[in-house]
């Protein structure tokens, strides 16, 4: 081959390799949250930044995460449903059905541990579970990193954000960064309870609120402010025999059978079906269940007892639960896909 051909080939190769990738500008981000939330713990090696959040956002909506390239994180965590999916239990790779109802991702920055049995200690590590789960994404994370690195834009963004190509470290950090921005604190209840805007709840909702935090119902014993969860584990007497043993799976203690982490009730009107297995379709069903006092189980929380609530009182409770919806959260454009 003559020198002229070599020169031409080199120039073409240079042009192809120089497809335009913008210069990335990375800026620190200070998480905004209200005064009635505690200070979140953000790992030192994963301080929030614009690029890290954007990279996580792109990952969150990428179907490269599943073996069949059909499922993304957002498949089971839709912003419009407060990052749940409206299904009884989620559907993952190759149409497989999981065992559990998709939890909301609201206020992940404050969660002390993850998964319903609490077996995962950090938000970074949490991402490993659905990627590996054969019912969810069923993909080796090293293969995922390779797929993502094939996208030069993402690879360059990773280098700018974390000073390394995409690898399991970057995947888990970036996803955690994006999820830490899911702050939900602007419901009518927040405005009423923490900002003194007394016109934010209806009469029925105020009665429901009073019942919710009363000694009679003790709902607020586990669904504590400000996250409407104590992040502890309770057996609520959903079944006499549980097919999913919950916390017992990680402690091996029969006294933990049927205990699951208290879910946040923020945006609960949008996160049905309910319970760990999505076995209840509506809030009315859930309130009626608690009013009956649950099934007998040796580990049942002592607070779950027949409540003797009237029809009106149950309606008031449901009305209060609707006041926990944060419309600005579910319509937040910064949570949506970029393309």
């Amino acid at each position: 081959m003559s020198f002229r051909w070599w020169a031409l080939f080199s120039i073409i190769a240079l042009i192809v390799s120089c497809e335009s990738i913008p210069e990335f500008d990375d800026q620190p981000v200070h998480l905004k949250y209200p005064s009635w939330f505690p200070t979140p713990v953000i790992p030192e090696d994963n301080a929030l930044s614009t690029l890290r959040i954007e990279l996580g956002r792109r990952f969150f909506y990428s179907t490269e995460f599943s073996k069949d390239r059909a499922t993304s994180c957002a498949s089971c965590h839709l912003p419009s449903a407060a990052f749940t999916d409206g299904r009884k239990t989620s559907i993952g790779v190759h149409g497989k059905t999981g065992r559990r109802n998709a939890p909301s991702l609201a206020n992940m920055a404050w969660m002390p541990y993850f998964m319903m049995e609490g077996g995962v200690p950090t938000l970074e590590l949490q991402a490993l579970a659905p990627i590996a789960d054969t019912n969810e994404m069923s993909l080796e994370i090293l293969e995922l990193a390779e797929r993502l690195n094939d996208n030069r834009y993402l690879r360059e963004m990773s280098l700018a954000a974390y000073r390394r190509e995409i690898d399991p470290y970057v995947v888990t950090r970036a996803l955690a960064s994006f999820q830490r921005t899911f702050v939900s604190a602007d419901s009518h209840y927040d405005r009423y309870e923490f900002q003194g805007q007394m016109d934010q709840l209806s009469e029925s909702q105020i009665r429901g609120r009073d019942l919710f935090f009363s000694r009679q119902t003790k709902c607020g014993g586990c669904h504590t402010d400000p996250f409407l969860s104590d992040f502890d584990f309770h057996n609520i007497g959903l079944y006499t025999v549980y097919s999913d043993s919950g916390k017992e799976r990680v402690t091996y203690a029969s006294t933990d059978a049927g205990k699951f982490k208290t879910p946040t009730l923020r945006n609960v009107a949008l996160t049905g079906p309910y319970m760990h297995d999505g076995s209840m379709q509506t809030l009315e069903e859930v309130v009626a269940f608690y009013n009956r006092g649950g099934e007998d189980h040796p580990n049942k929380d002592f607070r779950v007892q027949p409540l003797g609530l009237s029809e009106e009182e149950q309606k008031d409770l449901v009305a209060f639960l609707h006041s926990l919806t944060d419309w600005n959260f579910v319509q937040n454009a910064t949570f949506l896909p970029l393309e």
Partner: protein, 253 residues
């Protein structure tokens, strides 16, 4: 593609390792000790894919047998400890061998742990280790639980024929996936007062009797009844298996 890259990475790492001078850290007069982990059934060598008969007459074939070994050490008569390897994923499909340079002297014990110490197990993030590290995502070779953060200490999977009839298909699966802090075990094997001379080469063979995994001296696991544990779901069986495993080693010089 991924698998190919992983294989290439491992080959590259192996080449690097092979190209390193084993005597690099060796000082004048040091001896070279090799620890060799040999799996056997009775007097026969054990191999993945071969069929063996357990103490209850069941025919079984192992398809996977891997374990985390940690803090593998030689103990000197004066109490000094020589670290052979901090973390190691032993794949018993091969014969794992580890070597170390040691000072001349009397050595009394070979000591190692089955599993990963508590400080490195729960609350530890495998994505923070480089790929070459045994605790990394790649290095763990699948011995990690993502849903319940922590390393799988031992994986012993296969199939059995519970009628024990020669020629029968092996259709009954068994799986022992054992891990978590309560299943961490230390194995100490007595060397007596073994003198290792300077400038010598010595091989110590750690023998692992595979049948003892199911049939320990004090506990017999019946594959017809107790054939499945992921620790979660049947912790007691995982503990029984681990206890048998920890007592299945002996030492040959």
């Amino acid at each position: 593609m991924t698998t190919m890259k992983q294989i290439l990475s491992i080959l590259f790492a192996a080449l690097l390792f092979a190209s390193c001078d084993p005597d690099k850290n060796k000082e004048v007069g040091d001896a070279r000790v090799t620890l060799r982990f040999e799996t056997r059934v009775g007097t026969e060598p054990f191999a993945i894919g071969d069929v063996y008969i357990d103490n209850l007459g069941y025919r079984y074939r192992a398809e996977t047998f891997m374990s985390y070994l940690s803090m593998i050490e030689l103990v000197r008569a004066n109490g000094e400890v020589v670290l052979v390897k901090d973390f190691y994923v032993a794949n018993f499909n091969t014969t794992p061998q580890l070597s170390v340079n040691v000072k001349e002297g009397d050595y009394t014990k070979v000591r190692f742990n089955l599993g990963v110490p508590e400080a490195y197990n729960k609350n530890v993030d495998p994505t923070t280790y480089p790929n070459s590290h045994p605790l990394s995502v790649l290095g763990s070779q699948g011995l990690f639980w993502q849903w319940n953060t922590g390393y799988i200490f031992t994986k012993f999977d296969g199939k059995a024929d519970l009628e024990g009839v020669e020629g029968n298909l092996l259709l009954s699966p068994f799986a022992f996936h054992c891990g978590d802090d309560p299943l961490f075990r230390t194995v100490e094997l007595d060397l007596g007062n073994s003198f290792i001379a300077g400038d010598s080469q010595k091989t110590l063979t750690v023998v692992l009797q595979v049948n003892k995994l199911l049939h320990g001296d004090e506990d017999q696991i019946d594959l017809e009844i107790d054939y499945l544990t992921h620790t979660s779901g049947n912790f007691l069986l995982a503990r029984r298996f681990t206890d048998n495993f920890s007592k299945a080693f002996s030492l040959e010089e």
